[in-house]
Symmetry: C2
Subunit: 184 residues, 2 copies
């Protein structure tokens, strides 16, 4: 096999080993991801991420990362960060991109570049409460990949399809997920 | 009314004016949010956001913002950013927080602090393909608000409930949204 000469920077063997290990340890597969949000002023907030839980114990990212979110100036806000809905697009694009790299590695396909444009359409009459028939969220999201790789168009399409099939964010956006909102 | 002395930094009058204006201009209410993602190496990618479309024309954030996403070291990755699924938590918390501030302003409630902890549970046997009955995405998300404001517990709970009712990200996570994935 030519697989060994391919290097997309993904340690697929470690993932395959993890799969084998977790088959017999379902408790270790239970992860808990977290974020802490603090209102600043107006529609501006900052959200910090560092710790999470998985493999049966507390884990931590190497560093804490904070993200500013705000509404843009055309909504009479100060635009001190991207909008909350744009963070969903970041999650979707990055999830599918990581998947493409991992699947390509597993299939022995050398990637040279993977770029994508994601866009979500939204009718803001929903969030403004103008029309109760208009939903608050995106009515449609489209992501377009441009991939340069040592593979046929058909194989590249199969890569993307497999990434989509295993994507956590794609699943969360396309299928309903329960969200509980509590006031302490 | 005591409303005029309340200042949460949200220009509610501008939002109410926008609501009136968009009632008669549904085309202007159609927004398009965008992000561009570029694979770096392994599971690491960077996603940039600046332009969007709304109010009938091209718009732009004041600056371009880029976000690194990656998988953590326990997944044999380099942890050069938060995970794609954590970006969803950023979006959810910031969306509900902006809504709390806006609704509080509209209801004449002075906020002193709004903090929230959001956590999402996920069984990674889904994304690893161990068990096809396990979904890839979050099986449950919970967000807990701690709000200090000039209002009763009941009024604060009503604030959060109204924010939830008008939240774009809450809607996208709790209800299915169509996502089209294209290879150019």
């Amino acid at each position: 096999m030519a697989v060994s000469s391919v290097n997309n920077g993904v340690n697929v063997q470690a993932l395959l080993d993890a799969r084998e290990a977790l088959k017999g340890a379902p408790e270790a597969a239970k992860f808990n991801w977290r974020a802490s949000c603090k209102w600043q002023n107006g529609t501006h907030s900052t959200t910090s991420i560092q710790g999470f839980h998985g493999l049966g114990q507390e884990q931590s990212h190497k560093t804490e990362t904070s993200f500013s979110a705000d509404h843009p100036e055309i909504f009479a806000s100060e635009d001190q960060g991207v909008t909350p809905v744009e963070f969903m697009l970041v999650g979707l694009a990055s999830c599918l991109t990581a998947g493409v790299a991992a699947v390509a590695q597993n299939r022995g396909i050398q990637l040279r570049s993977v770029e994508s444009q994601v866009e979500g359409s939204m009718d803001i009459r929903g969030i403004l409460g103008i029309d109760s028939d208009v939903r608050n969220g995106y009515d449609d999201i489209k992501i377009t990949f441009n991939i340069d790789a040592d593979a046929s168009k058909k194989d590249i399409e199969a890569l993307v399809a497999q990434s989509q099939k295993r994507s956590a964010v794609y699943d969360c956006i396309t299928n309903p997920t329960n969200v509980t909102v509590v006031v302490a």
